[in-house]
Symmetry: D2
Subunit: 324 residues, 4 copies
């Protein structure tokens, strides 16, 4: 069956660069004579029939914008088989014959179900700042989130240094270590606490004190948020109560999700959007665009429906060597 | 008595642009044939005799750097008369015959005491991101903190809009309204909660809901931190528990203190550093550099030893009109 | 006559913050129950009848955007009396009974003629990066242009320092000294060449060589573009041919016109847009919003129809003292 | 022979991230108990014996700084065999028994000669914004230069759009296409002119006019500088003289070389500095750190002594598809 009208939606958390992917999908499709229908607010919007016809103007001047013009949401309903049936009925009524989903592993699970249950052609594009999807080295938004966090830590270093202070800087990424490790290496952090690390407060304090003895004016400890944001406050209290060490806390939070996408997010998203359309048109479904060995390419969607924390773990040793 | 050797120190919280003031002091003094002695870590460092001779190279390539190369601290000891006596003895032993203090109203109180108790010539330069010193329209660091907060809110707006969410964004400034009001107007915030506002949760929820009814995709509420940081969490809980309204919290925190100073902080600090030296040399002490009617000029130090929240309060009405 | 429908246009060069002024005009007017008609592409678009009805959504999410959503242009036709007659006919046919013009002194001349020839109520808002309009200390866009130039010079300093080089950095502003002086002071430039300065190459070379002798690793010379951009190349050639001194040239150019407006451009533009509407509604015409003694207020439009280079000239001495 | 004292220098053009590599070299070496001697101003400084002992403090707080603390230069003398002999004598007299060179293919040629003529152990680290060295997908500084150019083009787009204009934006990279192609894709440029492209002015004009006919408000054409900077002016003149099309020119120039390094430049430079030390200590010489298939690894230095324009050429088609 030939695809003549592609639906596109964003699902789950937003990430910078999603607009670049949308733009690339629309432009590639139009250059191939194919229609594109934007679906607002993810699977939830799909179930409510929130469609908008996309043309070249719809994606004009958006390449540099954070967030997503299609908006996004999480849809608990879509986890139920009857709502997925309804979604496919709506798509077919709208004459949409292929669907591109920009999101994370959860969103890809929903897409996979559409294919398995209804043979509805789907292609995924990995979009999440967490960089935690199996079988891809990169997810759209990761480098922008890292860059935002780096610039924030650079600022915090100014004030930490001016006051000879210790800072616990908590970065996003839930159970993924990627943001914490990359930010830690890139800012010369004195310590990095990974999501599942049981915090060794004694070692932390020893490291800080050794730095001070050596003449360091400040210490920055990058804390991966882990399952629940705010663990930095717990660490702060232990340092204070048990070791009489004053540490300041900075939770970087949602500033890491927004902002104009940096070069790689624009560049990789542009390639992915382009390839996703080609995959749909070529019948290469269900599939997903990934980065492997530094290149953007297609793989089976089934490879990307689980989380994995594989991309930066290998750099733990480097982080430690450089933080002496 | 002619001044031949100027001491300079930073005191209290650091703020972006302090380095520009230090640079201007050193360069102006040297162009006038006067020595400058840097005193590290504020009054505390003075009491420990932490001096460094300043020359043109000491202040080379620092105009664009956040924080302060002299570092800063708070010194409870300095509030006692015997330690101020000791400080003057140390200054005189070091042949320092005039002192420039970059800091806030508290630091100026210490300086005033040096003058009153020992006739030690002092000149203040207002440096704090809070913009809360009486009789000056500006304090060094304010605009950089505002700019950093604005860029953070712009980012948060991306993600708020993509998810149709409400955000409580807490900005620094303790009891000062200045940062909150300027950031609120400059980001088109839907609401601004000032430091001493008793929060009217019902009104807040009504405003948010009216915005949604009108088609707004997101709401940003700027929260001035007030005496204790973290009040946004309290508001969040009330909105959730009493009104079933989900709001996200972002505490901008210490990123607002660091970073390369923006134009006005560099420009005003450069003028202030220059004038402070001229005042010391001209015997115009005790005095302080201020901004009045848009111009940098000198006034009596006694005018600036209290806090005031006078600079942006008049813009509350503007903020409300533009946030409809 | 009561104003019920306000026309708004941008004219001349664009500047960052124009969107904030447009937003403030629309929101203030709507809060007062008044209609706003956007006129695209300045006076030229007015003559072609390019109108768009403005509502709250038209100005949603634009406060942070560079350029102007109404676009702008220069219109030679509008300098002729018969075309101004035609413009007023068009405005009246459109039931527009007051006009807000965002632009420079040239645009204000056109507005003044509309008033004089047809008693058409007009209010000006000064918008140009050049900060060169008589009787106002500020024009919207100036600080963003300065900030962009400062960040560019900070970057150039990195490479200049790494190579021990001299750079001629040409900034915008035509015959206005304001950008060059503020950027020069804020970047610690070794020299600033103002628009009408006859370049003293010998002195320039002596200054550079004295810096080198003193251990300076690099020299940055800020060159105001003056009437014709590119004079830095001429200076470069003379330095090379007559003094065997290699200098690199960087023409910052149009990057200074764009970008997200910095805090003050947003803040002042918001006040000006608000006041401009109040002036029109209050019959205070022909008038213009200005900054005087650090405050935004209204003055007679006739005060702002000429250029003036008055705002930063007084800082030449400061620049020289600090560049030793 | 065991290496106990590593010399390190930067050579050729500076690039952002060089400081991160220096920092990683120093910290890795010290953690292994090895000395590091910094050599200032490249091969020229080596010949003049400009050495500085490096310790942890030497590389404190430099990870975020553009340029290179060791400075750099081009040394025509070093192309002669007798001066290389002299250099090795100086190195040995200084008890330096291994050399790390951060630079481009030219610098690596010099390093290769040191090895071939004197068996002096050398390791290269590719540092140039041009990304034009054979057998590596990445060179330190490339992404920062690209990011700086992207942000500049985003700004120019604001003003281009506000005036409905065409801009020729010239980016650095000499004969390399990499910056131009990546910037072009990432900014949605309407056209990209590669270094060796013979400009087809007719096609350029047709493309611009087709865009206008389709409702585009502005056109951005990215021009790779090629062998001599300034070719945009030639194109501008032809467009004006032969096609009566007004285009503005922006030469981004040296702002692309400076600035705080973005995430990948910090991250890759940190890995490369670390690996370079390990290679020297392990006797893996002459070698060079490269990126292949997305990973940092070592290869024979001989593989990287020539230029190649291989890394982004494959994206020309993508650029064309997305610029319709």
């Amino acid at each position: 069956m030939t695809v003549k009208n592609i639906g596109i939606l964003c699902s789950g958390g937003d990430s910078p660069g999603m607009n670049c992917a949308i733009r690339a999908v629309v432009r590639t499709a139009i250059s191939r004579g194919i229609q594109v229908t934007g679906i607002k607010r993810g699977y939830a919007g799909l179930l409510r029939g929130e469609f908008m016809q996309m043309n070249l103007s719809s994606v004009g001047n958006i390449i540099q914008r954070g967030g997503t013009i299609l908006q996004t949401s999480r849809s608990p309903e879509f986890q139920k088989v009857e709502f997925r049936k309804k979604a496919v009925d709506i798509l077919r009524a709208q004459h949409i014959d292929g669907l591109i989903i920009i999101g994370g592993d959860g969103s890809f699970n929903g897409a996979m179900a559409l294919w398995k249950e209804h043979q509805f052609p789907v292609v995924g594009i990995p979009g999440t700042i967490d960089n935690d999807i199996s079988n891809t080295e990169y997810t759209i938004g990761f480098n922008t989130a890292v860059q935002t966090a780096i610039e924030a830590v650079d600022r915090i270093r100014d004030t930490a240094h001016s006051h000879a202070r210790t800072f616990l800087v908590e970065v996003m990424g839930r159970n993924s270590s990627a943001i914490a490790l990359k930010v830690g290496v890139c800012t010369g952090a004195e310590n990095i606490l990974l999501p599942h690390d049981k915090v060794n407060h004694q070692k932390l304090v020893d490291d800080i004190n050794r730095g001070i003895a050596r003449g360091k004016e400040s210490s920055i400890i990058i804390v991966a948020e882990g399952p629940v944001a705010g663990r930095s406050y717990d660490i702060q209290h232990v340092l204070k109560d048990m070791y009489h060490l004053d540490a300041h806390v900075a939770i970087l939070g949602h500033i890491q999700r927004g902002g104009s996408p940096v070069a790689d997010d624009r560049f990789i998203a542009s390639q992915m959007g382009n390839m996703a359309v080609e995959a749909l048109l070529g019948g290469n479904v269900p599939s997903v665009t990934v980065v492997q060995k530094g290149k953007v390419l297609m793989t089976d969607l089934a490879n990307c429906t689980t989380k994995a924390d594989h991309n930066y773990i290998e750099y733990s040793g480097l982080a430690e060597t450089l933080s002496i």
